[in-house]
């Protein structure tokens, strides 16, 4: 296995062009959190032609709903949630300049096609390693939708956040390639 690729958002076309399905990535910089209810609200803003609460161009959205922090800490556990639930909202956000999403599990055909078209990648981290991932989060700021609790949009500053590229802009798909390699039945 080759060593990890280091990336820092905001990402350019060039940044995502070098990434290939199966690459391990270490991210340092800003991630925005959003999951089910936050996506629903972002989508409603877009439908009404209003501005988004943060500039999405070149950014990375991490699908996560963290546990509450203990006193004196900035965040609790923060592992990825299943990305497929956000599939219906994702192509529009990619069209608006979102460069990467992070979660777990496979994406829909429509999202995969949109990533090729708008030059964006999908990455996964190891689901259920929420304590390990939390250690890479250095700063947390509330962006909006605080009423949603764990589902609010937060701005995370991370250091060496570990992820693996699942879908690259060339149609590479770690889930398809990895499973084909080890499958023993048709």
């Amino acid at each position: 296995m080759k060593g990890p690729v280091r990336i820092t958002p905001p990402l350019s076309d060039r940044d995502v062009e070098v990434l290939r399905a199966g690459d391990r990535v270490l991210i340092t910089g800003v991630l925005y959190t959003a999951r089910d209810q936050a996506h629903r609200r972002l989508y409603e803003l877009i439908e009404r032609g209003e501005e988004l609460p943060f500039d999405i161009k070149g950014q990375i959205i991490y699908y996560v709903g963290p546990t509450p922090p203990r006193p004196g800490r900035i965040i609790g556990s923060a592992g990825p949630t299943t990305s497929g639930r956000m599939d219906i909202y994702t192509p529009k956000l990619l069209e608006m300049g979102l460069k990467a999403t992070i979660g777990k599990g496979a994406r829909s055909r429509a999202v995969i096609e949109a990533m090729k078209r708008y030059r964006a990648v999908y990455m996964a981290c190891v689901g259920g390693t929420a304590a390990l991932i939390a250690k890479t989060i250095k700063k947390v700021d509330m962006v909006c939708y605080e009423d949603l609790g764990t589902e609010a949009i937060r701005r995370l500053e991370v250091e060496d956040f570990p992820a693996i590229v699942v879908n690259d802009i060339y149609g590479g798909d770690l889930f398809v390639q990895g499973v084909e390699r080890y499958r023993k039945v048709s």
Binding site: M1, T67, A106, V126, G127, T129, T150, G178, K184
Partner: protein, 278 residues
């Protein structure tokens, strides 16, 4: 009659909620560690090592092992000589309320239509059986949605038989792919009625990992299903590999002559369950 106070049940339930979120049972930890040696994919081995390392961090740094601390599911065996000075459901809900608050666990329960969060992770899901004796056994299994959402129930035709059952179980795991956080544990409920099969499947997940069904033919079915599932190639987190499931547990119950209900309840690798006897 032996009296058990509502307060005592609440306290025990609170402890179960907190402990299960931070410390994984030994049998699951051992199954994960053993899998590292068997897994053929280098990336798969890395994933398994990260999962084991995460468990250490969870314990030592007091962080829940997974951010999805689940909906709180309970199986209660209530001795028929026990009398509670109030409502069992209320006592459990209060324990969940306190445990999820004081344990800094995520509140993941909401109204099914409006999606408004109840704010305290209640109500709990409680299954009660009346048994002999004067003890109360409470088993808790917090269930995350990643794996629960990949679970399936199908009413097979009796003519589809055991081959139909095997096909349905393997197909369910295949369709789930990387979503339920493999390596998974597969709980299968065969027979009973529509709802009984689902409860059997969930109960099967509470068994110690790798414990075989006492019925030899069912134990053989468990082994065969595990082998077929691990040939699918899904592997740890779906990145490809030979460890897709750590165990398959099957429970059965007689059913109607015209039906064959089969439920498949999928459990992620953070297979949290804890038990207390009062």
């Amino acid at each position: 009659m032996r009296r058990v106070s509502q307060k005592e049940i609440t306290e025990k339930v609170k402890d179960l909620c907190i402990e299960s979120a931070y410390v994984l049972e030994e049998d699951v930890v051992k199954a994960l560690e053993d899998a590292i040696g068997r897994e053929r994919s280098p990336l798969g081995r890395e994933v398994l090592k990260e999962i084991v390392r995460n468990l250490e961090i969870a314990r030592t740094d007091l962080l829940p092992m997974c951010q999805d601390t689940g909906i709180a599911v309970f199986f209660v065996d209530m001795g028929r000589e026990v009398m509670i000075d109030g409502s069992l459901e209320d006592a459990i809900d209060e324990g969940v309320r306190q445990g999820y608050r004081d344990g800094y666990l995520r509140k993941s329960v909401c109204h099914p239509i409006t999606r408004e969060n109840t704010g305290d992770n209640t109500p709990a899901i409680v299954h009660v059986s009346i048994v002999e004796g004067d003890r109360v056994t409470i088993r808790m299994a917090p269930k995350g949605a990643g794996s629960e959402n990949m679970s399936r129930l199908r009413m097979l035709k009796p003519s589809e038989g055991v081959e139909g059952i095997k096909g349905f179980v393997v197909e369910t795991v295949k369709e789930a792919g990387g979503n339920p956080c493999p390596p998974i544990i597969v709980g299968v409920g065969i027979g009973g009625s529509f709802e009984k099969s689902a409860i059997l499947a969930k109960k099967a997940l509470l068994r110690k990992i790798g414990s075989a069904n006492p019925d030899g033919s069912i134990a053989g079915l468990e082994r065969e299903l595990l082998e077929r599932i691990n040939m699918l190639g899904i592997g740890p987190m779906g990145f490809g590999g030979t460890t897709t499931a750590l165990a398959v547990h099957v429970e059965t119950f007689p059913c109607h002559i015209a039906s064959l209900p089969v439920a498949v309840n999928i459990q992620c690798h953070a297979a949290r369950h804890k038990e207390v006897v009062i």
